[in-house]
Amino acid sequence: MAFVASKETYSGKVYQVNIGTGANAANLGGENVLPFHSFEGTVPNKPVIAYEIQDVPPTDWPENVQKPYSSVSGDPVAWAKFCQDNLKAKAIALRLLGTHPDRENRSPEVAAKTVKDVLSAINVPLIILGSNHAEKDAPVLVAAAEAAKDRNCIIGKAQEANYKTIVAAAMANNHKLIAMSELDINLSKQLNILITQMGFDKERLVTDPMCSALGYGLEYTYSVMERIRLAALTQNDLTMQPPMLADVGMYVWKIKEAQAPESEMPLWGNTEERGIAWEATTATALLVSGAELLIMRHPRAIEAVEKLIEELV
């Protein structure tokens, strides 16, 4: 007798969220099965990896991940074009780190100009991120959302402390929105409810349950993502069905394992290879737990994960 794989059926479905405009627009989510379970249902879209860039030179990044961008990272426009044209990025994530009060403390107007300049140079979808300073992000993202009006970007991250202003800005300028909570599935659901109670369409949300790197709490992110996806699919929980984001690069490239030199840690092997492997491994785990959108840094880590996606889908 031939082997017949047992199949699960699910009552829910992940919302399909469209980002960007024109020929290079992309879709996130849309599947009615667990990650890569295409044998049980439909998986209309592959996970998307966005290249992370920022509005200030990445002097805070380890040298090995600065290197691939050294000729362009002084200018966010050149950096964005490099990712799109040379590295064939399918999406770009612009982090407005320079607006942070402890950094350059740039004004919302300056940030808006950067957004406009970057958008005029690229045609792939853009994700616009604040500096993760809840208070400052509100005016920065409002200005950025206006500057990007009708380009169907994802803006974020809206958190419990600042979501109202950011939700209103995303709504007024036709953007998608990242809702971030801190590794707590119930608070993630609550934030989605609060955002939709403002009139924001739940099918325009992207959930960020908060990322963490391998060795630094990855299992918490993995578990929250997995449970969010199970609530979406098996309980048909309408508030838990947006696609999910894993903001991988910023968490991986600050840990010791991604930067300790081989001279100090001879048993750990080559520093550059180690960092790339660390980012790719973290990203892979989060893809398996349900992420549809990844933000990553090293081109070789991205290349490896994209290859894996090609083979698994």
Binding site: I185, N186, L187, K189, Q190, Q197, A231, Q235, D237, T239
Partner: protein, 260 residues
């Protein structure tokens, strides 16, 4: 949990007047309100309806289903009114439910209607001899109803056994007998028999302020025993079912869970 929205009863003055005048407004307003609050079926209780019951039941079924995409629970002792209602029932949202047959020979023909119109039937566990004394007597009557259902060609999955909830104020012991009966009924078949109660009868005759409290707590206890359905006010039960689902892990908790 299936809530059979109970507010359309001839006992209520406003509903009775609307039924007499064939005024659709109040009937449809109540049906919509029960549906929005989570009812999965609407109870149409026209009482004994000795005069013009056929017309009245048909009017109720079509009036309700014109505005609410739900099946109707046809609640009357008049079997020709039941048949008239079944003829016009739109079953695209689910089978109708007949309330009810029992162990009283006069109520046996109701099962014929169930078989003929592919309807579900409530089996009230009372006989001609009066009220059952305890859970065991209810189960014995249930067994007779089940045997008769098979004889008449109504599949057991279309039978809802009703242990008959009595008033806490006059028949306190029966509150626990009914809880036990809900458990016993399910053990009488595999897959388990479906069960239903007329919930608000528990608080009949009690002060108005106590009624929702009695209804809600009793409902929680019955749900825990595996109750399938309740004829109840969907508004009054919404908090209970949502809280129960959260506590049993059927829905994910969030601070706003009651608003969902």
């Amino acid at each position: 949990m299936l809530i059979i929205g109970e507010k359309l009863s001839i006992i209520a003055k406003r509903v009775r007047e609307a039924m007499m005048k064939k005024d659709k407004g109040p009937i449809q307003e109540i049906a919509i309100s029960q549906w929005k609050a989570g009812a999965g079926m609407i109870d149409a209780n026209i009482g004994p309806a000795e005069d013009g019951g056929e017309d009245l039941m048909q009017w109720m079924v079509t009036t309700i289903q014109a505005v609410v995409p739900l099946p109707v629970c046809l609640d009357t002792t008049n079997s020709s009114a039941l048949e008239a209602g079944l003829k016009v029932h739109n079953s695209q949202w689910g089978k109708p439910l007949i309330n009810s047959t029992s162990n009283d020979p006069e109520r046996f023909p109701i099962l014929e209607l169930g078989a003929k119109y592919n309807a579900q039937v409530i089996g009230l566990t009372v006989g001609k001899g009066g009220l059952p004394a305890d859970a065991e007597e209810r189960a014995a009557i249930a067994a007779e109803i089940m045997a008769r259902a098979m004889e008449y060609g109504v599949p057991l999955e279309d039978i809802y056994l009703d242990p008959l909830v009595l008033q806490i104020a006059t028949s306190q012991d029966h509150a626990r007998h009914v809880i036990k009966a809900i458990k016993m009924f399910q053990e009488m078949n595999d897959p388990p028999m479906k069960t239903v109660v007329g919930l608000s009868n528990i608080s009949n005759g009690c002060p108005k302020t106590l009624r929702p409290i009695l209804n809600r707590y009793y409902f929680m206890l019955l749900m825990l025993e595996g109750l399938t359905a309740a004829i109840a006010d969907a508004h009054e039960m919404a908090e209970v079912t949502k809280t129960y689902d959260v506590m049993m892990g059927k829905t994910l908790y969030a601070h706003s869970y009651l608003e969902m």
